[in-house]
């Protein structure tokens, strides 16, 4: 009784809508020793598309399983829509879930698959029929309700799976690598489809992937996972432009990594002597001090040819050039052997360097970021 009242009041409590999902110090360990998810704090806003991005084994699926209720957190609390669900079984959580291999029920027709969650909620027959039609229109598969899943293409099956997870308008939709089983072209098509559906219905989505381009193109925010912790969370452009750690800098997009040591520090910037002796200026991200060893991260597309000694620049020898259409990818080597990638836009008249030539590549101090090594 009391719980009902509080949960009913919670969203309008003080004029602010409750967060769609709140995690507080959530731990997960399977063997009691290693933490697969480690003291995780996370807030997801209503209607937000949040992507969990991380390398294999970083604990993404484990996190999702806890959100869905298939695994219990070893410690901490999980709230969905202001309600503590940490000890609630999956079927009481009112979430939607899309699995990597669709998990459409093979013995039921498309229509029956879509009706399944509505029947489980005790809807009336006429309402169910209406809603199933609505869902089929949403995914542009009208007239397919009498087919079996096996009679559909992979992309169609995945659309049905998405519609099935959304049909009862759950507070939270979880997707674990839903496009992992599709080929590249279909994957891009489905990404657009998911973005469109998200715009139309505005469900809160927590999306797991280890494909960074997918994460950047789909999400409002991305949480980069590293060994059970969030290394950084932010909008795609924040993560790309302002990676907060060397791991994120290396994981999101391509980044050159130049090692060196700090020789001077100002508030925002620092001077670094690279391993080959060149002195360059970079943003001081990690509060480094004079004498610290640092890694500089510089995007390949932010490099430009320059004269040696002019601003921040490094001298490199061109190792090879790969023509990629809109850009050429130039692989270079610094004198100490550090590999530098330079992406050179192919806009007509720009001249391409010769293999074996020695050139200077410069960058502005805003484009180089110094992390403690």
């Amino acid at each position: 009784m009391l719980m009902k009242v509080t949960s009913a009041l919670a969203p309008s409590g003080n004029g602010i809508q409750a967060e769609a999902l709140v995690l507080r110090r959530v731990d997960k360990t399977y063997d009691g020793v290693s933490k697969v998810v480690d003291a995780l704090d996370l807030d997801v806003h209503p209607g937000e598309f949040l992507t969990i991005l991380g390398p294999s084994g970083s604990g993404k699926t484990s996190l999702l399983m806890m959100l869905a209720g298939f695994e219990a957190p070893s410690a901490g609390t999980i709230e969905i829509g202001g309600r503590d669900v940490s000890r609630l079984p999956p079927y009481k959580r009112n979430i939607g879930m899309v699995f990597q291999h669709y998990a459409l029920f093979p013995h039921l027709t498309v229509g029956e698959n879509l009706a399944y969650p509505l029947q489980a909620r005790g809807w009336r027959k006429s309402d169910i029929a209406e809603r199933v039609d609505w869902a089929l229109q949403l995914i542009h598969l009208d007239g397919m309700q009498d087919r079996r899943p096996a009679q559909l293409s992979g992309g169609q099956q995945q659309r049905i799976a998405v519609a099935r997870a959304l049909i009862y308008r759950p507070q939270l939709v979880l997707m674990d690598e839903p496009l992992g089983a599709l080929d590249k072209q279909l994957r891009e098509q489905m990404q657009d489809e998911i973005v469109r559906i998200h715009r139309e219905l505005r469900p809160t989505i927590v999306y797991v992937t280890h494909d960074q381009s997918e994460a950047l193109s789909l999400s409002d925010r991305v949480a980069v996972f590293e060994a059970g912790r969030i290394a950084q969370i932010g909008t795609p452009s924040e993560l790309y432009e302002q990676p907060g750690t060397a791991f994120v800098a290396g994981f999101i997009g391509e980044n050159n990594r130049i090692t060196g040591s700090v020789i001077a520090v100002t508030t925002e910037f620092c001077h670094v002597r690279c391993a080959d002796g060149a002195i360059v200026e970079a943003r001081n991200i990690a509060d480094v001090r004079i004498g610290d060893r640092v890694n500089l991260a510089v995007r390949p597309e932010r490099l430009r040819p320059t004269q040696a000694g002019d601003g921040s620049s490094v001298e490199v020898e061109v190792a090879d050039i790969t023509y990629l259409g809109e850009v050429s990818r130039v692989r270079c080597r610094m004198r100490d052997g550090t590999e530098i990638i330079w992406k050179l836009p192919n806009c007509g008249q720009s001249e391409r360097p010769n293999r074996g030539a020695t050139i200077a590549l410069g960058f502005s101090r805003e484009d180089a970021r110094a992390f403690a090594a």
């Binding site: 079927y91 009112n94 699995f99 029920f105 093979p106 013995h107 489980a120």
Partner: protein
């Protein structure tokens, strides 16, 4: 390089097995099928009668055949085959044994007596019709017998008289017992396989469950039957236990063995692994994502089980059930050991005709019908199950 074409090599590899199957399996079955409709025994004993009656129009008493019968009976007495012939003919109609014996003995004394003088039975047209039928080596008689049918002298097919009806009931009883055994196996085996397939059961429990299923395979059928006798007999472990617990009185001892109850209990025990193993393999191959998807969509575990898990494991139930049912239909050893008088099935009757009554034709006919029933089931049931949408 020695050029042996792959298909030739393939044939060479399967040849031993094909030869074995033909010799040990197909040939005996073909012989059995043939024997159920081909019975040259009487035709061989009465070659002249057979020839004459083959030309007979079937009306009245065929005077032209009496001499042939006389000659055949005399030869049969001379070669000591009269006993066999008399017994064989008696199967067609009670009383023929006496008629043949009497006639043969009379002919030994007075070889030229007319048959109708020896015994008025020879003037009965019905007798001659029987003779015409049984002297033909091709007969539907055994199949009719196996179905409790008979042909009246005027050629109509009717049911046997009440007291001689035996096999249809036995077939029905066998089917019923097979169905019951299958049902019990399903009720016991499904939860068992389910527990085994659940990851939550833990590795040590799983090993134990598998061991218990496989144990019967490693123990001799005879040993198991004996063990059941020890348990179930009137002075066996269970009755003594119930007595000691005060649940039954000395007069209330339960008849658990040497009847149909015993047959069913022991058959369930023997056949349970055949249900559990195919079912388990289906369950183990079912991805957990279906059950999880159902739960994530808001379905209570009971609904998940009824609407998702159970339908997706039907192929295993169908496979296991069909296997158990078909094996039960032809089960012989267990009823023979623990079935007593009332717990016998059709196979025991077949064995009886093969070993005791030596009526191989009837045994073959019963076997043929059983084979047809099993084939029909094996061909139609999986298709029915598929039409019912039970594919995974």
């Amino acid at each position: 390089m020695n050029a042996v074409s792959p298909s030739r090599a393939g044939w060479a590899l399967v040849l031993p097995l094909v030869a074995f199957i033909v010799i040990a399996f197909l040939a005996p079955i073909a012989t059995m099928l043939l024997r159920s409709v081909h019975d040259p025994e009487i035709a061989d004993l009465m070659p002249r009668t057979r020839q004459t009656l083959a030309r007979w129009d079937g009306i009245g008493v065929p005077q032209m055949a009496t001499e042939a019968v006389t000659a055949d009976l005399r030869e049969a007495s001379a070669t000591n085959q009269i006993g066999r012939l008399a017994q064989r003919l008696n199967r067609e109609r009670n009383g023929l044994r006496v008629l043949i014996d009497v006639t043969a003995r009379h002919l030994e004394r007075e070889p030229d007596t007319k048959l109708s003088r020896i015994d008025p039975g020879w003037s009965d047209p019905a007798l001659w019709q029987i003779l015409a039928r049984v002297t033909s080596p091709w007969t539907g008689q055994h199949l009719l017998n196996a179905l409790d049918l008979t042909v009246t002298p005027d050629g109509a097919m009717v049911r046997q008289e009440e007291a001689r009806r035996l096999y249809v009931d036995l077939f029905l009883r066998t089917a019923w017992v097979a169905a019951l055994v299958t049902l019990i196996c399903a009720l016991l085996g499904y939860p068992y396989a389910y527990a085994y397939a659940m990851a939550a059961a833990g590795p040590s429990l799983r090993a134990l469950l598998l061991f218990l299923v496989l144990l019967p395979f490693w123990t001799s059928l005879l040993v198991r039957a004996t063990a059941w006798i020890v348990l179930l007999q009137r002075r066996g472990v269970i009755n003594e236990g119930l007595l000691a617990a005060g649940l039954i009185g000395e007069t209330g001892r339960l008849d658990l063995i040497y009847n149909m109850t015993g047959t069913i209990i022991v058959m369930v025990h023997v056949l349970l692994p055949f249900f559990v193993l195919p079912l388990y393999s289906v369950m183990a191959g079912l991805p957990t994502s279906y059950v999880r998807a159902s739960a994530s969509l808001g379905a209570h575990p009971v609904r998940t089980f009824a609407r998702v898990y159970l339908p997706l494991t039907y192929p295993g139930v169908a496979a296991g059930g069909l296997l158990v049912f078909i094996l039960s239909l032809g089960y012989y050893v267990t009823p023979a050991l623990v079935g007593g008088r009332t717990g016998q099935l059709i196979s025991n009757q077949i064995a009886f005709h093969m070993q005791r009554s030596l009526n191989w034709g009837l045994a073959a006919a019963l076997g043929t019908l059983l084979l047809l029933a099993v084939l029909l089931l094996a061909l139609t049931l999986p298709r029915l199950a598929e039409r019912g949408g039970l594919r995974a």
